[in-house]
Symmetry: D2
Subunit: 294 residues, 4 copies
């Protein structure tokens, strides 16, 4: 696994428990954790349950005892690691958003196609596809529950940046993350909409907005660009993304991804309706345990 931040913890949990939930042909071995800072990597490996650590991903992705490379770094590191791992014949699981530019994403897709011939699998980490309710909804829609699909509305709402004093992080830095709410959570909304409808987004009208342009540098964020001793860092990505789209089969869709939705910790909601007047599919998920004060 390359990286060991928030998603590194989530993926470690998944690798650990998967063989106890599913009948897998082989039990995953959590072999090597890669991080640039050896001390921090070692602490993470101990906490997350990895056997050893390394600081150079290039040597790791070529090791004979590595079958699969799991990439959980910021987006700017995805392309080089994924392309190298695929070239070395490894399976690759890469966190979303896939890349920070279309060109990089296309380069990665090309590498995946080339490696597929020798049996290497490549997958983007759209973890929500494993939510059982989503799989069921997709089946119901494919079975004709809503008739011909006409409209989708998808909202992914979080609130963690609504406080202007929430600290700077690499997720708010365009060089590292590529985009903000759009790529981080909007990517899930788009993926779910495409997965449920079987149609691809073809054209969009979009509005991106940044509400808080400077945030305090604290802890990990001190190394970020633009900091220059001021104590604050520049937010160079979108805080919220609102867009409408036409899908390949004629569906129209509205999307919202925001980290400023007060009252919603982490809520994804998708609604699909079609030509059958009687049925609508509504999917919601939230951090388990919802508290409302009213």
């Amino acid at each position: 696994m390359i990286g060991h931040g928030f998603m590194g913890a989530a993926h470690s949990q998944a690798w650990r428990v998967a063989p106890h939930f599913f009948d897998l042909p082989r039990r995953p071995v959590m072999a090597v954790l890669v991080g640039r800072d050896e001390h921090r990597a070692e602490a993470a490996a101990a906490r997350l349950g990895w056997a050893e650590v390394a600081t150079d991903w290039r040597t790791v992705v070529e090791r004979d005892d590595v079958d699969l490379v799991d990439i959980v770094t910021p987006g700017n590191v995805h392309p080089q690691v994924a392309v190298a791992a695929l070239a070395a014949g490894k399976h690759v699981l890469c966190e979303k958003p896939l890349a920070n530019s279309v060109a990089d994403a296309e380069r990665m897709a090309e590498a995946a196609r080339a490696a597929a011939g020798s049996g290497a699998l490549a997958m983007v980490g759209f973890s929500y596809r494993r939510v059982p309710a989503l799989a069921l909804a997709r089946q119901l829609i494919a079975d004709g529950l809503v008739g011909q699909i006409r409209q989708v509305r998808a909202q992914y709402l979080q609130d963690w940046l609504s406080d202007a004093q929430a600290p700077m992080t690499w997720r708010l830095d365009r060089d590292a993350a590529g985009s903000g709410a759009l790529g981080d959570i909007g990517a899930h909304a788009v993926d779910v909409a495409q997965y449920l409808t079987g149609q691809q987004v073809q054209g969009v009208n979009a509005l991106l907005h940044t509400f808080v342009g400077e945030r305090p540098l604290m802890g990990e964020s001190r190394g970020l660009s633009g900091a220059a001793g001021t104590g604050t860092g520049r937010v160079t990505v979108d805080d919220a993304a609102l867009f409408t789209a036409r899908l390949s089969g004629g569906v129209i869709a509205s999307f919202e991804a925001t980290r400023f939705a007060t009252g919603r910790k982490n809520a994804l909601r998708v609604e699909v309706s079609g030509s059958k007047p009687g049925s609508t599919v509504v999917l919601e998920w939230v951090v388990i345990g919802r508290l409302r004060v009213r």
Copy 2:
């Protein structure tokens, strides 16, 4: 009152009950109902409680015993009636959407400004502003409940056209109605958003779509353009309108107006959030009495 369709019935009810809800300086007298077809106008006047009928609105808006002209016709008739009534010194209440073109709307606004000097009042029928919850929400927001407003999401969802066999009506004819869901219910969503925030829409990205292009002609709809003996009429307005907007004070907003939202008879929902992490304002109203089967 000029016109006597769906909104004519609603306005008649309002004129009748207003003095029993509110302390009014004078009790309204429901004097004259105007309709092109005398027989249908007479039947409507009897049902809705108007004292007499007329077929020519031009003479009515100039009668000395008429103080206020209430316009509930299709949108293409609004401008000429409103301008004439204002010129005759009458107060004017005009249904929304105000007009079918910006030029017409500006002409009407100009007439209203000119008439204001002599005491004539002009008002657009945004009836939802009288919903007590909306007035309270506006006050809470003005008092700072959400801090500086950042995001608005407003949806006005109806389902009455999701059945492709629902008949043609003047509301689906561009010449008469100007637009479809956009002007009919999207107008309310925009008005509520502007009213709650105190900010004006400044720029929009919009997507309009028509799902069902031909509908059966039945009853009243037989006189509509494009019918030509085929038994069907052409839908020349939008069935759904999705748009995002920037408001004058920096708020970003997403809007949806659709008549194809299966599962929603008539539901308006507006959510307002801002810089205070703890508070969000959510307004919903629906036809009273909601039945869900799940």
Copy 3:
């Protein structure tokens, strides 16, 4: 109409608008309003639209020009007026709860049965039966939507007494009102449950509770019993009623009626489920226009 308080205003509105909503054989004439205090009755008649007033209901219910007597007084007055009106051959519409004791209610039912022979109709004012969603829900259930009905949960929640300084009223006085939340709003919950299921409540376990035992006397409430110059009146009814029940066809049901449900102005919710795993009927209605702050 005998009485002219809160429900008197509601019934006046209904009599006025009914002929404009429905095709009635005759248009109701709002003839006489009865109140003990002539001045207050006159003010009410002017506001609510009644032609004349009287202070003695006994003479009014025997007038030849009166066809129907509408009783909107506190419950303790219901029996004598209803029995006298039925004896005089009048139709009777009586507000709920029907009476303050089972004995009174049975006496009224007996009078109604006796009068039915001569064509007099008697009805209790369960106005929510006219909510279209309720009629539709009943039909869906009768058509087998949920299979054999098994469970009902019904909640009628209001908040108007949660403030301990809300003033005393006749509705909190057992002599006048008979009971509190139980009869006033619990009666609706029971009626809706019985109406939807076609089954009668057969046995109950109940818990009644009064949270605030003394309330300030203000305005109208000054004449209430127990006031004795202290400035406060004793609450002698239930503030909340929780009960479970078995219905005649085997359904089990839970009920809650409370005037202390903070966050709910006036919300009735009924849920019906049965032997068909896939379908549940959920009915909700609230004061139109719901505002949530979260």
Copy 4:
């Protein structure tokens, strides 16, 4: 761990991941899994990650290398294992409901008190107390958010038995499980209500009901009592439990626990209101990922 059914899988997951979520003084070692059938216990141990198996819990609870005994058997086995383990000086975690009778529960509590002196800890597995929203809600209420607490309504709704063909299981057998919905999920509702209010249930009115009295015997359920070659087993517990209660501090509460709530897979909802008119606490949790079709 004694037992390896549904809750055995859940507890195994918890023991495995706890040290990766929390900083624990020692990492738990999943030492021995106990089951009566050695082959099934071995399969479970392999799947759930336990080092070895045993068939006799009596010897296991006395082993020197065992520090903690986790009891996930049917309720009828809880008392003997817990009392023996406590007597042997082990910490004990026992699944809820604690016991199948009050006498057994009191005996266990007595054993726990006696063992506490030597440092043994005893805990009942009310896992929902670890839902962060619940802890936050409790704190908000303790801080005075709702004022003096007045009402609680708690519902734990599942639907897995609404299908009359769902098979017999030990959970529907009184000898093994003690009770049905009441102890299995009603126990959580009561625990959450007591935890949030800091008050104990003092008196209840209850209604228990069994909708489906016979269910098909399949797979594991074949060994259950009452089967006698008929192919069906007798359900001897409640399918639904409705009750109202008074708590020790004056709160009144309504509870519902049912496995026949069509439309709810697994939904716990608790609402707490009090003397402050403006605030209500609403807690909901559901299986993550909710799909509604409407």
